[in-house]
Amino acid sequence: MTTTNGTSGCTARREQRPLPGLARPALSRVAMELRVFFREKDQVLFTFAYPVIMLAIFGSVFSQDIAPGLSFSQYFLAGMVATGIMLVSFQSLAITIAMERDDGTLKRLVGTPMPRAAYFLGKVGMVLVVGGVQVAVLLVVGATLFDVTLPGEVGPWVTFGWVALLGLAAGTLSGIAFSSVPRSGKSASAVVTPVVLVLQFASGIFFVYSELPEWMRSIAALFPLKWMAQGMRSVFLPESSAAREVTGSWQHGATALVLIAWTLGALVLCLRTFRWQRRDDA
């Protein structure tokens, strides 16, 4: 066999081309996240069906009106929209990122020149799409099957928009931060789910918030879900219902402040504590 010197030309290093910007890697990550999400059929079903099933159960069990002309379904829809936002942001990210840290996905990504922000933007894009679809499903089902009235004016929908976006932001960043708490990918679901469930009970999702014991309310008021639910009530309940809130008003200012505070606090926590490798591997 003869040896050629054809390889020597390849050893000269090419000129270093500029690194790709953030846009392409981030879009590519969004596409990957959506593919992965929609291919986990059980996860898709659970995410979209859970709020609808809960709406069906609670709407049927509590068939009396909670106030003249106000059905429990109407009250409950607001809470379920808030819950749905928390599920797709906080719960799904806290669990999936813990699993991705455990199975080496994160380590593989951080070993490439991917801008680290692209990973998080991928998650944000996924949460926005999935959250949007989920809320839309819930509203359509509520309006068609459970006779829930949707607001007919622009004002409440503006409120809906900012509460949903701030809620998604707070839930997304808290979820990313909380993903470091479970010790392994396997335990992630068991660690995260009870946190979400307890918050749902304490935040007045399943029961009328103002009828909960005061100690429970004061704990719930520290967390975003209570404020998201209250913000959503201001969208889906008539203006007169504000009087039945604990303070007698919707507290939009406080809602915005708490959600922004959680977003910024969780961001700081993410920046300081986020790990790309397992604890036993760094």
Binding site: T7, A12, Q16, P20, L27, M32, V36, R39, T105, P113
Partner: protein
Amino acid sequence: MTVRGLRKDYAGAAAVDGIDLDVAPGEVFALLGPNGAGKTTTVEILEGFRDRNGGDVRVLGHDPAHPTRAWRSRIGIVLQTPRDQGEVTVEELVGSFATFYPDPRDPVEVLQTVGLGEKRGTRTRHLSGGQRRRLDVALGILGRPELLFLDEPTTGFDPEARRSFWNLVETLSAEGTTILLTTHYLDEAERLADRVAVIVRGRVVALDTPERLGGRDAADAVVRWVEGGSVRSTSTRTPTALVGELSARLGGEVSELQVLRPTLEDTYLRLIEEQR
């Protein structure tokens, strides 16, 4: 790549205890050593995955304790993570990773190169162990790395897959890629590596070409043959002379003649044994 006095402690005990290495551009360098000797720790420090407790390390002129995107784009890492990203297809995964690099290879070409051209549309969790490993390699070489880390790349391969993997490594090496290989297979190191370092308990105990490692080339050869129905063997420094002598004495062909030199495996096992 230069490494001077590299140290890494875990819980007070030194896992890497003062390692010096130099790997030249274009070289294929193999790290050998028993499990727990500090190979993976060393490699992960060089890859920028772990910090170190001491020593001076330069990889492509850069300290891997502070990895930058530009530096990452010049190295390729073949990880041992067999379970991640199970729900995406081979082509989707490689296509997505290609967007991270300044000058990536064509994803389809890379998959052809590693022999996964037929598996492009398969979800990664349906790949066999060997196919999964080749996908890891595809991701490692996607960005045209100047330096490629291969950590036990052929563990679990069948002999045929291993041969084709070796050919791939030789092609990459011929293209000028520097390769740092860890392996448990001595035949793999012998076939691929220009130089070999043996690490035992966090220290380099031998470093040379595979042919000369541990004085292998200077060791006595054993000549073995069959004469008068029985096996004879002699240990000698001059096997050629002995074979000539035998041939003359026995009239031409010597029955079942063998000239045996210590294999890399013999040498390696002796080096490990000496450290106990």
